[in-house]
Assembly symmetry: D3
Homo-oligomer: 162 residues x 6
């Protein structure tokens, strides 16, 4: 596989995501993390913040870069000549939705999706859970990269956890 | 089966829905598509638009008509003397929720639900996915009836895809 | 629906099966229970015994009869001009397998499958569980028709539960 | 098990919840129902109303009390020296999410979760479904404790079902 | 919970099982591991070997003992005055089957089942997988207690892996 | 990805398998189909027949070859310096089992598994279903490569379908 894309919101990136990026970097010559710009959904971190945290979190993976996209993933794929998506699968509920998206993307533009299983120790991890834990002062070290841990602390110190 | 009802939001109707209506029309003498009026959820198409698109999409099925309902489906069933619901099943996540609704409707009013499997080629299709694709200018032909394809183009041309 | 078939091994028929037959008898003008002749799998009850127990269990449903078939269900359907299968769904594991069979039967002979949800109070019931309970002298009344309860007692009295 | 906690929103409590509390009261010497204070999600019943309805619904269970918590459940557990959560499981979709939460709570504070299966006759029940039925004047007796049934009638009489 | 039972075949016991026993020993005053005598299914280890390996594996848990049973688990429960079963849940496919058994046991004898989630790091572990790995000389250390690891080596050295 | 392996029994290869091989051949520079030698399970086609049918079915994919293995897949991977497995996923029941195997293979030898979704039109296809259909004279064209279709006809003509 010459190139592949790992799409998502990454609000914020977790160690489960980094686990997927690491596996992807071993499968494709060049991996792009594509951050979805979703104007209708409120995010905790701004697009710039999310890109910065991702960039810091994959600095050790030389063939992984970060980009943003708005609209359909298949359009980004077409524009960049990328034919493969790589996604992590944790649970059955992931599977149903991701299979639908995979079949849609193949139908729309013959873009293929490869799923990798995440390390079981991250099977309960999601961006939502990390934000919930951090919001109430819980310890997220070991769940997210250090840069994210710091950013969460700063974010909730500022807003007082509200 | 003398009569049956296919309930839903149909915002908008897809070829997956039409596949279910076609199977239902073969199972019951008379089929009513019942469009749910949900005042708390914003829809892309108005109730009138959704009914018009449905009516156009099932014009070739002589024993299928379109109606609207607000509130509980079982009340509509009682008022119309209909004892059977027919629903399509695509994935396991559908199954869990639909089984709950089926058991509720039986408990409330002894209304039975029959599930039909949709054609696998539509297994990834949903109204949400169709709207997402159309919003960003993706090609939805083959995924929805022609009337819906035109309506989506008109809708997003007007709003500029926002 | 003019006619429908409920296929299975029914070794032996349970109250969960009877629940499905009752719902089927309300959906189609004529329902045939088709007992699969499987020469490679050992059964507790002989084919004749299974047919007799089924016949006794649906005596109160005037539009339900019992037949046997060997080979492909779709061939039986073709020979009898039946276009619809009706099956009960209890759990997600049922769903996966039954969906595969439904799609296969449609692909082979355009035979449609309608699924009905069984009464939740029978959700744990299966022929295997009933045999296991009866083998060790457990009480199966309420789980199977009376005729089956008697037949199980006779069967395991004879064999000494071995 | 000396003590256990049953967390939830309980907006409002259903007979399915009471079934879980009853099983929990048989497993642990002391059970606390902990009502989540969620300031970002709108509830039908106020926190005080939910606590009052719960208290009335478990009056017959001498070792069950009601409390409230805000933030992380594991913090409430730490503060009260409780090491076990007891949750009901109805369907596969419950399972996925609840397993994630169980693994998170164990990771954060070694808090264990025990799941009990609810009575199949309540397998379709949820607070959302009860509210939907009551909102449109459907009959919820048998689905919720009497106190809740009365409270729902009063609530929707006042608001006119809107 | 005064007493609870952990039933199974344990052919052989794995670290995933020991994880469940440890959690159970923390939930009930007295835990019995009940090994199923199944005369129709061939096992790698004899009943005596399985009991010995279990006994060695839970020697550090003072309130856990090992027993055997034949026939219905609920009969063993009745004979010993035990009202609670504790089982581990790894995956959705476990869940479906275990939920059926739990509902059956409650129906037959009001025996309750509590499920505990196993540590994610054991989520892939089963007795079958362990035997498969050991049969072909794979390394099972970390997957099973030391006594089991030794027993597997001895077993397959004798039989030559056939 | 430089090299990858697609393991399986392939008794016989179906068009669903060929779909997976095609996707794999697009993901890795070199793909090996590894046929499992299972001495305890009876197969319809001999190992040599299965290899021959596979070889014929992927003749148009220049970077795909066929090999056999006995024992643990990870040992084959170690011996051949292959770090990636590619598997097709059809349904949720596949997912549970395949995820277990993927986590086991990673634990044993850091061998990664990538899952590809099969074309929905093959979602009901399995080797077992194909054999069942062919055994009773059903039409399997379109479900398997032509060579397999011929081989099945020859096989069941010889054995008389028994």
């Amino acid at each position: 596989m010459r190139s592949a894309v790992c799409p998502g919101s990454f609000d914020p990136v977790t160690n489960g995501h980094v686990d997927v990026f690491t596996r992807a970097s071993d499968m494709a010559d060049q991996v792009t993390i594509a951050v979805l710009v979703n104007r209708t959904k409120q995010s905790l971190f701004s697009l710039d913040e999310r890109v910065a945290l991702l960039t810091a979190s994959v600095a050790h993976l030389p063939n992984v870069t970060v980009d943003v996209f708005e609209g359909l993933l298949v359009e980004w794929c077409r524009a960049h000549g990328v034919k493969h998506v790589i996604k992590g699968l944790r649970a059955v509920s992931d599977f149903d939705y991701e299979l639908q998206m995979a079949q849609l993307n193949f139908r729309l533009a013959e873009v293929e999706t490869a799923f990798v299983s995440t390390n079981p120790k991250y099977s309960f991890l999601s961006s939502s859970i990390v934000k919930e834990v951090a919001r109430y002062g819980g310890d997220v070290s070991g769940l997210v990269p250090d840069a994210v841990s710091d950013a969460l602390r700063a974010k909730f110190a500022t807003t007082g956890g509200a």
